[in-house]
């Protein structure tokens, strides 16, 4: 299927075209970018539908970009998991771009081309079936993200950018060391070929294999923002411009994707000698991340910090779930991944709109304060009212007054985002947690109590629930402060183009609930095929290059 290469080529060509348009002609660049994003989303959905049409054993689509025989040339592999990630990325990209059209695209010159390059890196990382190619696409994605992070400039972004670049360069070094060691042990870079050869590695080399895999794992886990390698995430995501931050919400999931892909391929159950290597470490790293982010969420006073911590919560839950190596749990975790990423992206966009409403309220207060000696309003603190304002009068005056549409939108969107993030019914966060908890408590399927859950499973159950509670407390606190406490604040002026992407993302989350059955069936199928790596290996290694036209004429 030739369409498999399109998610990489399309953004690359769009980025090149946008660069050719020069530094002005913003309208054309925006149009090109939107068109490319819409087509990309269409391609993603088409690939997802096509791959879902096959049964589990044949749900792979392998593409040989240079038509070399399999273990030698690079391969692109599409399976259910990568198709899901492609659609998720394209959806969030479209929303972030629409939001950026309102204001942020004017904050720097190369926003549109960097945006498309970032998409190219993301899509490539999801599609590639080659370890070194994965490194290259990681770098494409990261270099574009450095540019996007600095978009809009300012000391805060530059400083966060310096730390972010340094951390990622070190992680890339670790990635290279791990890749080189795995190549040294197995003599190949093709993931499927390597997975097939790992079983035959002599016992003397197994230490080297494990060391290489562990170093590679550290690089991935640092990108997935697992504790203690996640100190870069908070300053970066709170400093980045909202559309860039929304796109970055997918980037932490790339680390998780790489861990899931490579660990299920290399260390499956029943592989003697390398049996489930590092699964325990993965579980405990995930749990430690959950503890860290739950405590952080509890204490978060500002909305953007709370959202960043909720991203780390989802990373921790996903990594821990990946370590259990159970299809039902992994399927639930993939459903959780989609829902939580969409919610985090919507929330990151919403943060700016809510901040804007606060800034509007603060300006008049600052002008008045010298006259009547009222205290200055500190950012993030409760607005202090001048002593001579009678709050009761003010409230009475408010009765019967229509609430401005902008405030209604902000309130509704905030409530839905909070419910999604905290995992409360009726939204997808709740469903995902129910599926994951059920899989944890009944490892052998519902109704059978044969194998009781272990300490790690109970810890994950407790932490999943506690992190939801912490998210609820933090978000209710922020919500009361932002939406209820201030009276008589002028309604912020929102533009349709800013509200539309948030609405679309939230609609997608509602869609996840309405069509929870088909989506869960899909993620379960993806998890099952992940846990049967022989299918992936067989699908890749059995692919033959297309014969050149001349040979085809001669052959019959």
């Amino acid at each position: 299927m030739n369409l498999v290469v399109a998610p990489i080529l399309l953004p690359m060509l769009s980025a090149a075209l946008i660069l050719l348009l020069g530094e002005r002609r913003l309208r054309w660049k925006a149009l090109l970018n939107v068109a490319s994003c819409v087509v990309g989303l269409g391609i993603g959905v088409a690939l997802l539908i096509a791959i879902d049409g096959h049964d589990t054993t044949r749900a792979f689509s392998v593409y040989l970009p240079s038509n070399w025989p399999v273990p030698f040339g690079i391969v692109l592999v599409l399976d259910r998991l990568s198709a899901l990630m492609l659609v998720l990325t394209a959806g969030i990209a479209l929303a972030a771009l629409l939001y950026a059209l309102a204001r942020w695209q004017r904050a720097g010159v190369h926003f549109h081309s960097l945006f498309q390059l970032q998409l190219m890196g993301l899509n490539g990382a999801f599609l590639t079936g080659d370890l070194f190619n994965l490194f290259v696409f990681f770098e494409v994605m990261l270099v574009a993200s450095y540019g996007l992070l600095l978009h809009g400039s300012g000391p805060r972004r530059v400083q966060a950018g310096l730390h972010y670049v340094a951390v990622n360069l070190v992680a890339s070094s670790l990635f290279l060391i791990g890749t080189a060691m795995l190549y040294g042990v197995s003599g190949t870079l093709n993931l499927a070929d390597m997975a097939a050869k790992l079983g035959r590695i002599p016992a003397a080399d197994r230490g080297l294999l494990h060391a290489g895999a562990a170093i590679l794992g550290i690089a991935f886990v640092a990108k997935a923002a697992a504790w203690p390698l996640n100190f870069w995430l908070l300053p970066t995501y709170t400093a980045a411009s909202p559309p860039a931050a929304a796109l970055f919400a997918v980037m932490t999931k790339v680390g998780f994707y790489a861990v899931l892909r490579i660990w299920t391929l290399f260390f499956p159950r029943g592989h003697d000698g390398t049996f489930l290597f590092g699964a325990d470490a993965l579980i405990w790293i995930g749990l430690a991340t959950l503890v860290f982010s739950t405590v952080g969420l509890w204490g978060a006073q500002r909305l953007d910090r709370a959202v960043a911590f909720s991203l780390i919560v989802s990373s921790g839950a996903l990594l821990a779930a990946a370590g259990f190596d159970a299809p039902a749990l992994t399927g639930g975790a993939l459903y959780y991944l989609v829902g939580s990423t969409l919610a985090a992206a919507a929330f990151l966009l919403l943060t700016e709109l809510m901040d804007r409403s606060r800034q509007l309220a603060e300006e008049p207060a600052l002008v008045e304060s010298p006259r009547d000696g009222a205290p200055f309003i500190e950012p993030g603190a409760r607005p202090a009212w001048p002593a001579d304002v009678n709050l009761d009068d003010d409230e009475r005056a408010l009765i019967g007054r229509a609430v401005p549409a902008a405030l209604v939108f902000l309130g509704l969107a905030f409530t839905i985002c909070a419910l999604l993030t905290a995992g409360l019914p009726p939204f997808s966060g709740f469903l995902a947690k129910v599926v994951m908890l059920t899989a944890l408590l009944h490892p052998n399927g519902l109704g059978s109590m044969a194998a009781p859950a272990g300490v790690a499973a109970w810890s994950l159950v407790a932490l999943l629930i506690l992190s939801g509670l912490a998210a609820m407390i933090a978000l209710v606190r922020v919500g009361i402060r932002w939406l209820w406490a201030p009276h008589g604040r002028p309604a912020p002026r929102l533009r349709v183009i800013e509200c539309l992407p948030i609405g679309l993302l939230l609609a997608a989350c509602v869609g996840l609930v309405v069509w929870a059955g088909p989506v869960l069936r899909y993620t379960q199928a993806a998890a099952e095929s992940l846990l049967r790596p022989a299918l992936y290996i067989e699908a890749v290694l059995s692919t033959r290059p297309v014969p050149p036209p001349a040979a085809r004429d001669v052959a019959p």
């Binding site: 310096l162 060391i177 190549y183 040294g184």
Partner: protein, 114 residues
């Protein structure tokens, strides 16, 4: 040769990590560069270390790793060098921007309050 190469990688990597943990941005930059040299040499070592062996097949010599060096790590190193060079250059730009914006070369953008 193995010992010399591993000592070289160790010294480069060790000094790279030490510089990386220093508070000045330029030291961090040098540390990252040294670390990437160490990594490049390491990738090289993961092929086979051989003297007077070339990666390109010539006629009349059997095509196996006894007579040739592994071309794959060389290709990987080339790619890694290019990518590492570009990202280090980018780090340099961010470094200069931070210096211009904050007036200090401390990685946190302000001096330690000691």
């Amino acid at each position: 040769m193995e010992v010399v190469l591993s000592i070289a990688i160790g010294v480069l990597g060790g000094s790279g990590v030490w510089l990386l943990l220093r508070p000045r941005t330029f030291q961090v930059l040098l540390g990252l560069s040294l670390l990437s040299y160490a990594v490049n040499l390491f990738i090289f070592a993961m092929g086979s270390l051989s003297i007077r062996a070339e990666p390109i097949i010539v006629s009349g010599r059997p095509a196996d790793l006894q007579h040739y060096t592994d071309p794959m790590p060389q290709a990987l190193v080339l790619t890694a060098i290019v990518i590492g060079f570009a990202t280090t250059a980018l780090f340099l730009v961010v470094l200069l921007a931070l210096r211009g914006l904050t007036g200090t070369d401390h990685v946190d953008g302000r001096e330690d309050s000691r």
